[in-house]
């Protein structure tokens, strides 16, 4: 059976090569000088800044709403729960173009709620708010699923203990549940952040592409690559570096546990 470990190693080597080669290619083709120049380019800066702002906003909404929702799904049984979970996971399997269509059909100007949104004075289409809506839609299942799994894995007696020690369920949620589930929550947040930062199709269809308002970094890359491949390359490299930095800082703060390391 000696072939088995060899096959495992070969698979890993293949996967690593396939996944890292494109990323490495980005950096090989741009010098650090190019990267800095790219940062100096106002279009690139605007795009990056917009991406970060919108992703942060989307993530804030996702965590604020998704955490209690995930907790409910993880700890209570109720009729229709399986359906609720499937519905929440749905955007995961929607191709971004379909997500764009879905958003247009629901909250777009001609969509189901379009009239009501317009009447309320809210502008989503062709506006930054629309980008945040698109990012929230596509990225939330990544967080909610991980959060659910994290809460489920927390030993229920910990909450019982907290209550017998005089701490109410609500405060126990904050003092025990969240800290204990934290590695899973952070992992979910990192996944959602990655998805939101890279979102392209749904954003383009739903919110359009305009510098400083709706042109996120991926859209800017798409806009320039045809005629200025080097700029696109540089901006891509910056985006990879930013994503990598976020991933790395998450790992450092929460130890290897969070993103795939063995539990300490």
């Amino acid at each position: 059976m000696r072939w088995f470990p060899v096959a495992l190693t070969a698979s890993l080597a293949l996967a690593l090569t396939f996944l890292t080669l494109p990323v490495v290619a980005i950096f090989i083709n741009s010098s650090p000088g190019d990267l800095l120049d790219s940062l100096g380019d106002p279009v690139a800066r605007d795009a990056l800044w917009l991406s970060l702002r919108c992703t942060a906003a989307a993530l804030a909404i996702i965590v604020a709403v998704g955490t209690p929702a995930a907790y409910l799904l993880a700890t209570r049984a109720f009729r229709g729960k399986a359906l609720a979970v499937t519905l929440i996971e749905l955007p995961l399997v929607l191709p971004p173009a379909v997500a764009g269509i879905a958003l247009l059909a629901s909250v777009g100007p001609s969509g189901l709620l379009g009239g009501a949104i317009d009447a309320a004075g809210i502008q989503l289409s062709l506006a930054t708010a629309g980008v945040v809506v698109a990012l929230t839609f596509v990225a939330s299942p990544f967080y909610v699923r991980q959060a659910m799994a994290a809460f489920v894995s927390v030993d229920r007696t910990l909450l019982d203990a907290s209550r017998t020690l005089g701490v109410s369920e609500a405060r126990g949620f904050a003092r025990v549940m969240i800290p204990t589930a934290m590695p899973g929550l952070v992992a979910g947040g990192a996944l959602a952040l990655g998805r939101a930062l890279g979102e392209f199709g749904a954003t383009l269809m739903f919110a359009g592409s305009f510098r400083g308002i709706t042109q996120t970094a991926p859209l800017a890359i798409y806009d320039t690559y045809a005629t200025d491949f080097d700029s696109a390359l540089a901006l891509s490299a910056v985006l990879v570096a930013v994503s990598g930095a976020i991933l790395l800082s998450v790992k450092l703060v929460h130890g290897g546990e969070v993103l795939g390391g063995a539990p300490r």
Binding site: G108, S110, G208, S209, F210, I213, A226, T227
Partner: protein
């Protein structure tokens, strides 16, 4: 293990079968043995799909398609919505000498029930305009046209732009969805919406000359068939389809 092997073999066989349309009874302009791979500008989507259904057609902004060819992708035919991009590829030796095969009319498009009647209405505050990005032909035609207007008007209109779309389909989408109030596209795009949008012609003095060019990509797999296809764009089933869609004849 064995069952998996059988499944894998079946999948490979299916994949192998997949793409050969060797029917000789088609009425398309490509009455040849193998399908032609064509990269064409988005504005020709409906026309070319209907006249050459058996060929492998890819539609996107002409600039994106040109970039692919620059990077070494080799479709058989490249058909663009301007002359600049094919000529550039030709000068780099990547395309055969391009042939002008059609023209199009650059128009202002609005939803069918819009109150906008002319380009002057676009300067009003709050009008949301969608145009093409700088590098896609529709976008550069738009900017050229606006540059021909009095500076104040041009500035006001540009100030109302809310999206720079990568291709005409994106602009049309914003209009049909009600996201934008007006957009600059080709008359063929308006025709393709079957009445949902209406086209407003622009004054002759600002109307750009929109000429479509096509060529055979150097190093393509089917150069002869590719040339046939390019020829048929000027006279043949596809030429007819283009004319039906609203394209003008070659200049």
């Amino acid at each position: 293990m064995r069952r998996a092997g059988v499944v894998i073999a079946a999948l490979i066989a299916l994949a192998g079968c997949g793409g050969d349309d060797s029917s000789s009874s088609s009425s398309s302009s490509s009455s040849k043995n193998s399908p032609v791979i064509v990269s064409a500008a988005s504005s020709m989507t409906e026309a070319l799909t209907s006249c050459s259904p058996r060929d492998k057609l890819q539609f996107a902004g002409s600039d994106e398609l040109a970039a692919q060819i620059e990077q070494g992708v080799k479709p058989d035919v490249y058909a663009a919505a301007n002359t600049k991009l094919p000529d550039q590829l030709y000068s780099e030796g990547k395309l055969s000498k391009p042939v002008k095969f059609a023209t199009n009319t650059f128009v202002l498009a609005v939803p069918k029930d819009s109150k906008i009647t002319s380009i002057d209405d676009l300067t009003a505050k709050g009008v949301k305009i969608a145009i093409g990005s700088e590098t896609v032909p529709i976008g550069s035609y738009t900017r050229d046209t606006l540059a021909k207007l009095p500076p104040a008007q041009s500035r006001a209109i540009l100030a109302n732009v809310r999206s720079n779309e990568p291709d005409v389909k994106g602009i049309v989408g914003k209009l049909t969805q009600g996201a934008a109030d007006a957009g600059f596209v080709y008359v063929t795009d308006v025709n393709a919406t079957n009445g949902r949008l209406k086209a407003i012609e622009l004054p002759a003095e600002v109307e750009p000359q929109v000429t479509y060019e096509a060529g055979v990509v150097k190093g393509a797999k089917h150069p002869t068939e590719g040339q046939d296809y390019v020829d048929a764009l000027s006279s043949g089933a596809c030429a007819d389809a283009l004319e039906k869609a609203g394209f003008g004849p070659a200049p």
